[in-house]
């Protein structure tokens, strides 16, 4: 099967991923993606219809912690990494709604 990715799809996907793609880069991303997806088609050569998907470590389950408070001691350093803050909150452009 031939994989075809359109320019519109690339732009839609970039938007979902919160990325800008410059006009001159679109074609390269499109070709790369198409080529890799074409290669990924080999997964269709294995008969896996009857198999389960691997979701996480199948032998592991119910890893949970107790509902006990442990406060993180280095909160200042967390906030110190903020590019822009005000009143100990992260500042972003005005959000409508």
């Amino acid at each position: 099967m031939d994989v075809k990715v359109s320019k519109e799809e690339i732009l839609h996907i970039a938007n979902l991923a919160s990325l800008n793609i410059k006009e001159e880069e679109i074609e390269q991303y499109r070709e790369n993606l198409q080529e890799i997806l074409q290669f990924a088609e080999v997964v269709n050569q294995v008969d896996v219809e009857t198999l389960q998907e691997t979701i996480g470590e199948e032998n592991k389950c119910n890893v949970m912690r107790k509902d006990e408070i442990h406060e993180f001691e280095n909160k200042e350093q967390i906030m110190a990494n903020a590019p822009e803050k005000e009143q100990n909150m992260f500042k972003v452009p005005k959000v409508v709604g």
Partner: protein
């Protein structure tokens, strides 16, 4: 005596016999970094001043553990408290981690001394360390070639004797391939053996931290520090603590080693193949039972790998949005521009390429065809390995189809770069342990790596198999990097 040529277990011995002091060791590495770093460019940050202070402190207080005062290098995607952790990305250029990864806590408990943070492909995405946003690390064997990746800084620093050992991380071969390219030993533990807490995630279901060392003994010693259950990582395995150095026995008699013929076929460099065949002969002579068999998974694994790894990465890298930490564009008027411009300016092209691929395979209409299918292929690959391990103790393959390639030779072809991972990714897909050790050099004096794959949590078996081989061919005694210009 050149201190920096010694392995860690040799340094340990000299410290115990008081033939060396911690300060002497750290100073020797500081000098070596001073001498070689300019050419190799393995470090993203160098800690030698703090390391010397630490050394003094340890000497004053007395060495409380058997590894106290031993230096180490850390791949820059492992969080170290109060220090930069950049992932070789402009996105995290100024990020100071407020916490230590669990493995770093383990090292600090043992009083190891960090010499600095090591270069890598941005967010561990790549196989050559050329995707670093800051610098290109050179292979100490030939400075015109890549050190491999993504843990290229770690492998190059160990090979260049700038650190005695280092931490790497491996998602699809990122410890083993650079170890092979740089002629050192790299171990990717079973998924879950080493805590991922504090390892900046590339692909959560595939990532593992592991040791990059000069020899197999050091690999076992470092694995002792890294392995163990961690409550902060839900995928961490609850297996009992082991002393991996007990596996260092020179004995492969009766060991069943399977050699999958598909890993020696098309695309594998002839000289690499020859070296591997010599290695197989050596194992035969040592009394191992070698058998060729069919394990036709490499291509499917590679395709499934790129689908799964990129899907997880596209989500894992969503947090880099310019709000709480990391790069923020100067160029925005609204929220959408803040997100998009920060991410587009902060990430390099390969990272963006993989985010796009990962977003695509998860998006509505494609999920079943790609992601779901890939997860089924993953089950298939696991099953095939299980079948093979009913017959064999160890599976032997090349680590990489080629030796280290020239810098800039594959940059323009992402798919070709991806194909270089063909021998390693299936191991991550199946969550197995594997070690890469040098098995000789090619006609250009470039090291060739051999990969030994084990059953889940059978690190001891592959360590023993590797150790026996290493003691037989004495690679380190015969070859060393020449910093060819």
């Amino acid at each position: 005596m050149d201190i920096t040529k010694l392995t860690v277990h040799e340094l340990q011995e000299k410290l115990e016999k008081k033939e060396l002091t911690v300060t002497q060791i750290v100073q020797a590495y500081a000098n070596r970094i001073e001498e070689k770093e300019e050419k190799v460019q393995a470090f993203l940050s160098i800690n030698t001043e703090e390391a010397l202070e630490e050394a003094k402190k340890i000497e004053e207080e007395g060495r409380s553990t058997s590894l106290a005062g031993i230096p180490i290098g850390i791949k820059d995607n492992i969080c170290t408290k109060g220090e930069k952790t950049t992932c070789a990305s402009k996105m995290l250029e100024n990020f100071i981690s407020p916490y230590d990864a669990t493995v770093i806590e383990n090292l600090k408990k043992e009083k190891l001394i960090s010499l600095g943070k090591l270069n890598m492909d941005e967010f561990a995405m790549g196989g050559s360390t050329e995707n670093s946003a800051f610098q290109i690390t050179k292979n100490p064997w030939n400075l015109h070639t890549v050190p491999g990746g993504s843990s290229g800084g770690s492998a190059a620093a160990v090979a260049a004797d700038m650190v005695p050992w280092a931490l790497g991380s491996d998602t699809g071969g990122s410890i083993r391939e650079p170890a092979a390219f740089c002629g050192v030993v790299g171990l990717k533990p079973t998924y879950g053996l080493v805590s991922r807490y504090g390892l900046v995630a590339f692909a959560s279901s595939l990532d593992q931290i592991g040791p990059i060392t000069k020899d197999v003994t050091d690999s076992a010693i470092l694995l002792n520090l890294l392995a163990g259950h961690d409550e902060k990582d839900s995928t961490s395995a609850e297996v009992e603590k082991k002393d991996y150095t007990k596996a260092l026995k020179q004995d492969v008699k009766g060991m069943k080693i399977g050699v999958p013929k598909e890993f020696f076929g098309e695309g594998i460099n002839t000289e690499v193949k020859e070296k591997l065949e010599e290695a197989i002969e050596i194992y035969k002579n040592l009394g191992a039972e070698i058998e060729e068999f069919s394990l036709d998974i490499a291509k499917y694994s590679l395709a499934a790998y790129y689908i799964i790894a990129c899907a997880e990465a596209s989500s894992n890298l969503g947090r880099f949005d310019g709000i709480r930490y990391g790069y923020r564009t100067k160029n925005y008027t609204d929220l959408e521009e803040l997100f998009k411009n920060s991410r587009s300016e902060g990430f390099g092209p390969e990272v963006k390429r993989r985010i796009i691929l990962g977003t695509y395979v998860l998006s509505s209409g494609y999920y079943d065809a790609y992601y779901k299918k890939a997860q089924k292929v993953r089950t298939y690959v696991k099953n095939e390995f299980n079948k093979a391990f009913e017959k064999y103790d160890v599976i032997l393959t090349p680590t990489s189809p080629t030796v280290a390639f020239a810098i800039n030779s594959k940059c323009n072809n992402p798919l070709e770069m991806y194909l270089a991972d063909i021998c390693t990714v299936s191991i991550n897909i199946a969550g197995l342990p594997a070690i890469s050790i040098p098995c000789g050099v090619d006609s250009n004096q470039m090291p060739v790596g051999m990969q030994l794959i084990g059953k889940p949590f059978a690190e001891e078996t592959i360590l023993q198999t590797a150790y026996t081989f290493e003691q037989t061919i004495k690679f380190r005694e015969t070859y060393s990097p020449k910093f060819k210009e």
